[in-house]
């Protein structure tokens, strides 16, 4: 059971949340190349290690969270708002 510290609601069980995938993807500009859009839609780093990802707190505040979680230990070391960036020295 993951325990996710929501910045607005406090620490809650994972069953209150819905996973929404990799948070490192950024949409290319409209004039981007087909290769850039293919990378954006389909390419995933999928690391064994620290992973920045979206979680939607559907059973709580219904806000989107940005979570930095380890994909092997499941440890969560940072949670922020969608516009936040994780601490720079921990760049993913």
């Amino acid at each position: 059971m993951l325990r996710i510290p929501c910045p607005w609601c406090g620490t809650r069980d994972e069953v209150e949340f819905r996973y929404r995938g990799d948070a490192t993807q950024s949409r290319p500009p409209p004039e981007g190349t087909p290769e850039e859009f293919t990378r954006y839609v389909y390419g995933r780093d999928n690391p064994l290690g620290w992973h920045l990802e979206w979680w939607l707190h559907v059973g709580g505040c219904r806000r989107l969270l940005k979570v930095e979680r380890h994909t092997l230990s499941h440890e969560i070391r940072w949670v922020g708002a969608p516009s936040d960036l994780p601490p720079a020295e921990r760049a993913v």
Binding site: E14, E35, G43, N46, R69, T71, H74
Partner: protein, 435 residues
């Protein structure tokens, strides 16, 4: 079709031994001789400095690829590198189900090709894999679901695959334990593929390993790949825990870890790694003689020959390499079990485990060349890797030997994502956690 392996001493390596042909006569003879005449089923090889083909991953697909390279294409200068002991990854972690009841015609053809290879596998490999075509039964619980299953069954029949519609009464006759009149999800009927069933999964790894070894393939255990060397856009070999091994072709068959291995070659794949859990109960007398799947939740169950009920559900739903799984999915799967089969409420679950899988961005596998010449990918198996082992190995070997995809696997190329030809079985888009 592949020719049977030759059970004579092959040329590669002086220390290689043959395990001989297995038969009833052999069983009797060894029994009378105090079981002292058996030898190791495969040779544990030490890696040579160079191979024509190096297959990374000693699971079902890697071993099958090596076997078909040797048996069908005569390419025996092959090594299978496994980071741990043989066959302890996903080939030993699945729920052992084989079937070809898919929706997309290209997928039906591919999995039906696999099912046909399963049907002759034991004779081909001279190994008892306990292939049991007991039938797979999918239940439906709403009118809309009945329409969807009917459409799927008709699409299967157009491809020449067996599929039958069953009434409520026929479902009850086949599986007396089913609660037909559940207040929320009554069972309206079922959809049966009589040729579906189960296979003893460990024996698949052992059978392919033995036959590949007999045919001259080197099986190297405890040989983790730590780097992929390439020059001028062409792969030249792999760095391993046991030194550099040169290769003309490197094939990755490491589903679950494909992204990590591809990263060593500088590639990004359309794959996320997720965990899928499985469970087995205490042994019971025979209560279930088909593979049963629930239509109102993600749940599938069969009874092993030892009597334990083997079942599983959906992925936990977030990226993970942890081969364990967490409790919310345990609760969801067991709740589905007792909703469908209330008699199971007092049965004890003995073991639970997880396997990590490549969830591809369209829910279909990838058997393909990659942007790096000489690097072949067999991965992205999602939930369907086990049932696809014979076809996956056969078509990957074809791709390596001919440099062009086998017709039944041509739609599984890596280029389909950029070209917009995705094979989206469930029609949910590029969201692996939904597949």
């Amino acid at each position: 079709m592949p020719s049977p392996p030759r059970f004579s001493a092959p040329a590669a390596g002086p220390e290689r031994t043959s395990s001989g042909r297995y038969s009833l006569w052999r069983l009797l003879r060894e029994g009378l001789g105090g079981q002292r005449g058996w030898s190791r089923a495969w040779t544990k090889a030490a890696p040579r400095p160079h191979y024509r083909v190096v297959v990374v991953g000693g699971g079902g697909h890697g071993l099958a690829t090596a076997y078909y390279l040797a048996a069908t294409h005569g390419i025996t200068d092959v090594a299978v590198l496994e980071r741990g002991p043989l066959g302890l990854g996903n080939v030993a972690r699945n729920t052992t189900i084989i079937r070809s009841n898919y929706f997309q015609p290209a997928n039906v053809r591919f999995y039906e090709f696999s099912l046909k290879l399963w049907e002759s596998l034991e004779r081909t490999l001279n190994f008892n894999a306990m292939v049991s075509q007991r039938g797979t039964l999918n239940l439906f619980h709403t009118e809309a679901q009945r329409d969807l299953f009917t459409r799927r069954a008709n699409l299967m029949r157009l491809e020449g695959v067996d599929a039958e519609a069953l009434s409520r009464e026929a479902v009850k006759a086949l599986v007396p334990l089913v609660d037909l009149d559940n207040g929320r999800y009554p069972v309206l009927g079922g959809f049966l593929q009589p040729r579906g069933g189960t296979v003893r999964h460990d024996a698949v790894a052992w059978g392919y390993a033995r036959a590949a070894s007999e045919a001259g393939v080197d099986i190297v255990e405890h040989c983790a790949v730590t780097g992929i060397r390439h020059q001028g856009g062409r792969v030249t070999g792999v760095e391993t825990a046991r030194g550099f091994i040169g290769a003309d072709v490197v094939c990755l068959a490491v589903a679950g870890y494909s992204s990590e291995l591809a990263r060593l070659a500088g590639l990004t794949l359309p794959i996320e790694t997720h965990v899928l859990q499985a469970f087995v109960t205490e042994g019971l007398k025979p209560v279930l003689d088909v593979v049963l799947t629930y239509g109102a939740g993600h749940f599938y169950i069969s009874q092993s020959d030892k009597g334990g009920l083997v079942f599983g559900g959906a992925i936990d739903g977030y990226n993970t390499y942890g081969q364990r799984g967490t409790l919310p999915m345990v609760e969801e799967v067991t709740a589905a079990a007792v909703t469908l089969l209330p008699a199971l409420s007092r049965v004890k679950v003995l073991r639970q485990w997880g396997g990590v899988m490549d969830m591809s961005m369209d829910g279909s596998p990838i058997i393909s060349q990659t942007p790096l010449a000489g690097l072949i990918l067999n991965g992205g198996w999602c939930y369907g890797g086990f049932k696809a082992i014979p076809a996956g190995g056969f078509t990957t070997a074809h791709l390596i030997a001919h440099g062009a995809p086998h017709p039944v696997a041509a739609h599984l190329d890596l280029g389909r994502f950029a070209a917009g030809r995705t094979v989206d079985e469930r029609g949910v888009g590029p969201f692996p956690y939904l597949h």
